[in-house]
């Protein structure tokens, strides 16, 4: 008797659990994000504008990196996410020849439409590129302001970066080849931790995201990519072409964001979040500041 009760309980638990989890409504736009501050913020910005301007509801889902987001979009586990032209160009399509902002955008848009049936909507406005940073003290001491100038000192330096940079074509392997640079040690870690690690001297150089607010806050100095190794990384929402055609309201809402935000804007808002602000509140504030919502 007790065993029957137990089995019944288990079945009920499972059914309830599965019903709770399998709620795939039609008018829900699932927005993917990568796992760092700016992506959390961008995801919420897309979510807020869609919910404000259309009847759709949204769900923001975090993934552990670029390729996971991309896989999720390809397999329709999400409807859209914000991708960088440079990331698509250098990491996904593995191209190395550096093009300008518009050429990169046109290239990835055509390639993605042809290969994956995924289209690129309008760029949101800012370029968030990888950039090498050192502390102000290091920059003064060694008198360096470009990556080439860092090369002779790099052999004694510990470098910190995110888990993707280590293997991407537009990341460490390409960087090493382009500049002939080598580090004493390479430490991949959660991207958000690299800034404090650099400030506190746990690492000597890090791979920053250029729009991170902590570069200014922690008094870090960016080294110029003088050999122009990194492609332009302009961000735009990407989604399946079929989905875009079937859901013009979503596309129109996202179009409102075209060119609205600059690097300085994003540094400002990213910092607000990194200093403890709620991501959705900051996203809402950002849209209000640009007059996009009331």
């Amino acid at each position: 008797m007790k065993k029957i009760v137990f089995i019944l309980l288990a079945v009920i638990l499972i059914s309830v659990g599965m019903m709770a989890g399998c709620s795939e409504q039609d008018n829900v736009v699932r927005i993917g994000t990568k796992n760092y501050t700016e992506q959390y913020l961008t995801g919420q910005m897309l979510s807020v504008i869609i919910e404000d301007k259309t009847d759709y509801e949204t769900e923001v889902i975090e993934f552990g990196g670029t390729m996971l987001c991309f896989e999720a979009l390809k397999s329709d586990e999400i409807e859209l996410y914000a991708e960088f032209t440079g990331t698509a160009y250098g990491a996904i399509l593995e191209q190395t020849e550096i093009l300008g902002q518009n050429e990169t955008y046109d290239y990835v848009k055509k390639a993605f439409e042809d290969k994956y049936g995924i289209t690129w909507l309008d760029e949101l406005g800012w370029n968030n590129t990888y950039i090498l940073s050192v502390t102000a003290e290091t920059a003064d001491e060694l008198g360096v302001s470009t990556v080439t100038e860092l090369v002779p000192y790099a052999d004694d330096m510990i470098m910190g970066c995110d888990n993707e940079f280590i293997g991407r074509t537009d990341g460490l392997p390409g960087l090493k080849e382009a500049y002939g640079i080598n580090f004493k040690q390479e430490l991949p870690m959660d991207q958000g931790l690299t800034y404090a690690a650099l400030r506190d001297g746990k690492i000597d150089v890090n791979v920053s995201f250029s729009t991170d607010g902590r570069i200014a806050k922690f008094d870090l100095v960016n080294l110029e990519d003088d050999k122009n190794f990194f492609p332009p990384y302009y961000v735009a929402p990407i989604m399946k072409q079929d989905y875009a055609e079937a859901n013009p309201a979503v596309v129109d809402a996202l179009r409102l964001l075209k060119g609205k935000f600059t690097e300085e804007d994003m540094q400002h808002y990213n910092l607000m979040v990194d200093e403890g602000g709620d991501v959705r509140d900051v996203a809402t504030q950002a849209l209000k500041d640009k007059g996009l919502i009331e």
Binding site: V5, F6, N35, I78
Partner: protein, 210 residues
């Protein structure tokens, strides 16, 4: 810290809900599969060893690796997480079911045979009730471990309390990080306590240790 929790209790609750959904579905399925398997392999020692060997190997795969290995097979998000957690829950449940059944005193089984019970009747009416404490012990271990491993599921888009921990780390937001961690631990304690009560209820009075 308190301000963070009071200000964000909806989000924390929602994440806890996702977390419970992942862990419970997985452990529930593991019970549905594991307990019957544990009962059935009782007959043949060699099969029993083979089955527990497989479950053992699954146990040794590090959780992050398990999620990764499952991606080509089941994709990502909650499906992936539930399958992974299910695989981890199998060993404690199968093993404890097997041990529990096996450890029933031979004299009791003799008595049952003497009363004319068939093999199946002995299994369901004598051995299983006596094995309940041990089986429940396995379920408790599986559930608590499952709640712990589910914190990593956020990386493959399955949500849960790990999202608070992980986002907290990335934004160096200690209240957020800790609220995720502490709630996960509290959840494990709470579930363990509830399961302990359930175990006591299900153990027939005759064998309850006073």
């Amino acid at each position: 810290m308190i301000e963070y929790i009071s200000g964000n209790w909806e989000q924390i609750l929602s994440r806890a809900g996702e977390h419970v959904y992942l862990a419970f579905t997985a452990v529930g399925l593991a019970c549905l599969v594991g307990i019957p398997v544990g009962l059935l392999i009782n007959r043949n020692k060699r099969i029993a060893n083979a089955v527990m060997g497989v479950a053992n190997i699954l146990q040794t795969v590090p959780s992050l690796a398990m999620f990764a290995l499952l991606i080509p097979l089941v994709g990502i998000r909650d499906k992936n997480a539930i399958v992974a957690l299910f695989l981890y829950a199998l060993l404690p449940i199968i093993k404890n079911t097997y041990i529990g059944i096996n450890n029933v005193e031979p004299s009791v089984i003799e008595a049952a045979k003497g009363m004319g019970m068939s093999r199946m009747q002995i299994l369901y009416m004598v051995q299983t009730p006596l094995a309940v404490p041990v089986i429940m012990g396995g379920v408790r271990i599986a559930t608590v471990t499952g709640i712990g491993i589910a914190t990593i599921a956020t990386l493959i888009g399955a949500g849960g309390l790990g999202t608070l921990i992980y986002q907290g780390i990335g934004m160096m937001n200690y209240p957020m990080m800790l609220s995720g961690a502490i709630v996960a631990a509290l959840l494990a304690l709470l579930i363990d306590f509830i399961l302990e009560l359930l175990e006591k209820k299900m153990t027939s009075r005759g064998i309850a240790i006073k």
